[in-house]
């Protein structure tokens, strides 16, 4: 690099650039938070959804599945499992684990009560109604 561009100039550009883009990021975040209620389906967050989310977390579902494309890539996407399979299938599936089919990927049995499974399904329904800009591309997730 040329001698006219000194280290202290480089340092100033670093601080200026860093602060500027961080402030821009904060501004975009503020705007996002403002428009989010129109998209995030938060009007449908019930106590059941809240409890369902907690069950989702405390059983570490994200350790195998993805939710809106984030998580592990070992098991199916669950952001749209509600429209894909419907509530009855989901409940029966969770209760029926593990399948025990030799050589097949196994999902643990989490010993949830019927009421807990209902809440988990409520959470998955809520998640499926978030406006995700039409992602995933098709129902298979």
């Amino acid at each position: 690099m040329s001698a006219t561009f000194t280290k202290s100039m480089a340092r100033n550009v670093f601080y200026g650039g860093g602060v500027f883009f961080f402030l821009l990021f904060i501004a975009l975040t503020f705007d996002t938070m403002k428009v989010l209620p129109k998209r995030d389906n938060s009007q449908n967050i019930t106590p059941a959804v809240e409890h369902g989310k907690k069950l989702w977390e405390t059983n570490n579902c994200i350790g195998c599945h993805t939710l809106l494309g984030e998580g592990a890539y070992f098991a199916p996407e669950l952001g749209n499992v509600y429209p894909r399979r419907g509530p009855d299938f989901i409940k029966a599936w969770i209760k029926g684990q593990p399948t025990g089919v030799p050589g097949r990927r196994q999902m643990p049995q989490f010993n949830l009560t019927d009421a807990e499974i209902d809440d988990l399904v409520a959470f998955l329904k809520y998640a499926s109604e978030i406006n995700t800009n039409k992602w995933p591309p098709n129902i298979e997730g």
Partner: protein
């Protein structure tokens, strides 16, 4: 070594390497579970193995960063570490907390672990990479603050260089952004939005400051190039990191419920994220070409150049591959993401820690460089690990492309599990490459025990 307090780094480096080995073993278990689904079930289900694999990665890199800074800051500041005792206490707290956490993952059902560790008080668990129980999260904050305090106090009482200031800023960012791991709203969109303030702003933001500072330090030492030149490069590179990387967070906001304008912000800025990595490659090779001395530690030079190249490939190129919104629409959350994740973490962060260990460890053991034979073995381990990781990324990329086609683009989309059966050949190949990686790592560990004539200090 010039300052005797630098010796604390050795503890950190040894722990880092040990945990690295653990990470790889769990990686191999998971790799096998991809094709032999019931392997070790129900003793170690996939989600548990993955939690151990990713958490060990984070912890060993943090040990590496801490060890590296306890080594380089006294030398940069030309003074002893503010408190070597604090560094040693922090080490044991972190190691014990880390070990207890991993044992908790392995021995206790996750839901019980959550109940016993106060997750009801404050829900923070069960989110990817942030699975740690509340006491562990608090512990991480305490350890990070004690590290930051020790380093900043050392910098304040000694010489202030660009390298030490950039490193301290990186650490400050690491500590501050981790605080978002305590924020877990019920609103899933907000949860995900701020989750990235930890994950993205760490690995595509402040960690790159730490990476840049460590690489600059080693390059000054092994090439003897003028500090003014190296530090000017450092500032320019990390400027580009922040200019592209902060708004680049938007590439995670395409499909999680955030407004559609993030597709523009995220695509444009993250498309520029390879630039700082490319500059880092040019910088490293330039400095080595202009070297004013032949450092006896050839292995350290190889690791440093390797870091710059692999970080560019993994973080830069493989990131760019799927960062544009129209492409990401199809690739989001597939094996392509896994390919990028592996190559980027290895290329940028695993390699820079190994670079630092390679340079500092011989000195901590009382010699300028390791014996010739040990260095040759170390360089073999570099090539084995680097090439096998590159192949892991290639196989996962292959898997990802076929997955995207069969599941998301074909006129007759197949279900997730049906697609997984179709791409199992790629997973077998990945597991094979993983075994080669393990051999490389064992060779690396072995290189520390090779005896022979070593070069004394000049």
């Amino acid at each position: 070594m010039k300052y005797k307090s630098q010796a604390v780094a050795k503890l950190y480096f040894i722990a880092a390497i040990g945990l690295f080995l653990g990470q790889i073993l769990f990686g191999l278990i998971m790799g096998l579970q991809y094709v032999v689904g019931d392997f070790l079930f129900p003793v170690i289900p996939f989600n548990v193995a993955r939690m151990v694999h990713t958490n060990l990665l984070i912890v060993w890199l943090l040990f590496g960063f801490m060890g590296a800074s306890y080594y380089l800051i006294p030398e940069e500041s030309e003074t002893e570490l503010y408190s070597p005792k604090l560094a040693i206490i922090t080490f044991w707290i972190f190691l014990v907390a880390g070990a207890v956490t991993v044992l908790g993952y392995l021995l206790v059902p996750y839901a019980s672990l959550a109940k016993w560790t106060g997750n009801d008080l404050l829900n923070t668990m069960g989110r990817e990479f942030l699975e740690q129980p509340l006491p562990t999260k608090v512990g991480i904050v305490i350890v990070a603050l004690s590290w930051l305090f020790n380093i900043v106090m050392t910098v304040l009482k000694g010489r202030k260089t660009a390298i030490s200031i950039v490193l301290s800023l990186g650490m400050l960012g690491l500590a501050v952004f981790f605080l978002f791991s305590f924020y877990n709203p019920v609103n899933l969109v907000k949860d995900k939005f701020y989750w990235w303030w930890v994950v993205h702003l760490w690995v595509e933001g402040v960690w790159e400051l730490i990476l840049g500072a460590m690489l600059a330090f080693v390059l000054i030492k092994v090439t003897g190039v003028d500090r003014e030149v190296v530090e000017k490069w450092l500032y320019v590179i990390i400027t580009m990191t922040l200019v592209t990387g902060i708004i680049g967070t938007g590439h995670h906001y395409f499909w999680i419920g955030a407004p559609a304008y993030w597709q523009w912000w995220g695509s444009v800025f993250s498309a520029l994220e390879p630039i700082p990595f490319l500059m880092m490659t040019i910088f490293a090779f330039n400095m080595v070409n202009k070297r004013r001395r032949e450092h006896p530690n050839k292995a350290a030079v190889l690791w440093a150049l390797g870091t710059s190249v692999m970080a560019f490939l993994g973080a830069g190129l493989w990131g760019f591959l799927h960062t544009l919104a129209p492409i990401n629409y199809y690739t989001h959350g597939t094996q392509l993401t896994a390919a990028h994740g592996h190559l980027a973490f290895f290329g940028a962060y695993a390699l820079v820690v190994l670079t630092m260990i390679s340079y500092a460890m011989p000195i901590l053991r009382g010699r300028a460089a390791n014996p010739e034979r040990a260095q040759i073995m170390e360089m073999w381990s570099f090539w084995l690990m680097t090439i096998s990781m590159f192949f892991i990324a290639l196989f996962l990329t292959g898997a990802g492309i076929v997955q995207v086609w069969l599941q998301r683009m074909s006129p007759t989309p197949m279900s997730f599990m049906a697609v997984q059966d179709q791409i199992s050949i790629f997973y077998w190949a990945r597991e094979g490459a993983g075994l080669v990686f393990l051999i490389g790592l064992l060779l690396y560990i072995g290189s520390f025990f090779v005896k022979g004539e070593s070069r004394a200090f000049e």
